[in-house]
């Protein structure tokens, strides 16, 4: 780590100590970011929600999903991470709008989220996480085969 970066990290850590409890309040992403929910493609969706930051792959950030989903109406997804993340979003290309859900992670929470999504066809699912403080974006994606489409299809 070079000196400049190191100083930056220190500053952020300092700010986090000085201002505790700033992110305790609830965030409704539907209201704060309405445009992100109308985007069709994953790439544009990530930009709309998190801006143009570089995406990093990390072994500490991943999700579990079946390779082949028999029923597209209910695909179990498990997101786990040991990183200190601020928010996690799930995107997919199968549906008319790419954004499925956005989690805002409270401070000190255990990141182990289990939920189910709908997909009407085979597509790539991308999970993006934003690290608290640094704002680094982590990503992980997988292709899920859907044999019977969800969404009532």
């Amino acid at each position: 780590m070079d000196r400049r970066k190191f100083l930056g990290v220190g500053l952020v850590a300092f700010a986090a100590i000085v201002m505790p409890g700033t992110d305790l309040s609830a965030v409704d992403f539907r209201e704060t970011m309405p445009q992100a929910w109308e985007v069709e493609k994953t790439v544009d969706g990530i930009k709309a929600l998190y801006g143009n930051g570089a995406l990093k792959e990390s072994g500490k950030f991943s999700f579990k999903a079946p390779k082949l989903a028999e029923n597209g109406g209910s695909i179990p997804i498990t997101i786990t991470s040991s990183l200190d993340l601020e928010s996690i979003a799930l995107f997919q290309d199968a549906n008319p709008r790419c954004l499925s859900c956005v989690f805002s992670v409270p401070v000190g929470a255990i990141i182990d989220y289990d939920f189910r999504i709908k997909m009407r066809q085979t597509a790539v699912v991308t999970v993006v996480g934003k690290e608290r403080g640094t704002g680094t974006l982590y990503t992980s994606s997988k292709e899920i085969d859907v044999s019977i489409g969800g969404c009532g299809g």
Binding site: A26, R30, G73, N95, R97, C101, F103, M119, C151
Partner: protein
């Protein structure tokens, strides 16, 4: 309308929560196909002692009757309160004791 089933269990300082919400989760396109009006939960928040432990904003592309599981650090006997907001801005709250 919407009913909730909540289960919360504490083990070694970690509370495991399972919650199920009743909703059709029909987004615009699906609603047209089925001939119903769109209805989906767009926001779920869980609080313990007014501190947020779980928070998610979703679109209609979650599966029908969404089931969520998560963990957080908590104590036995505390109360966990779930609030959901659906697409018509209807809110529902339900409270459950952590066992």
């Amino acid at each position: 309308m919407a009913k909730m089933k909540i289960k919360a269990k504490e083990k070694k300082g970690v509370v495991k929560v399972k919650a199920m919400f009743t909703s059709l989760m029909a987004d615009k396109e699906e609603a047209v196909k089925k001939g119903i009006s769109p209805s989906y939960i767009r926001y779920i928040v869980a609080k313990v002692k007014d501190a947020v432990v779980y928070e998610v904003t979703m679109s209609g592309f979650m599966s029908e009757n969404p089931l969520v599981k998560f963990e957080f650090k908590g104590k036995k006997g505390d109360k966990i309160a779930f609030t959901t907001i659906d697409n018509d801005n209807k809110t529902e709250t339900e409270t459950e004791k952590i066992k």
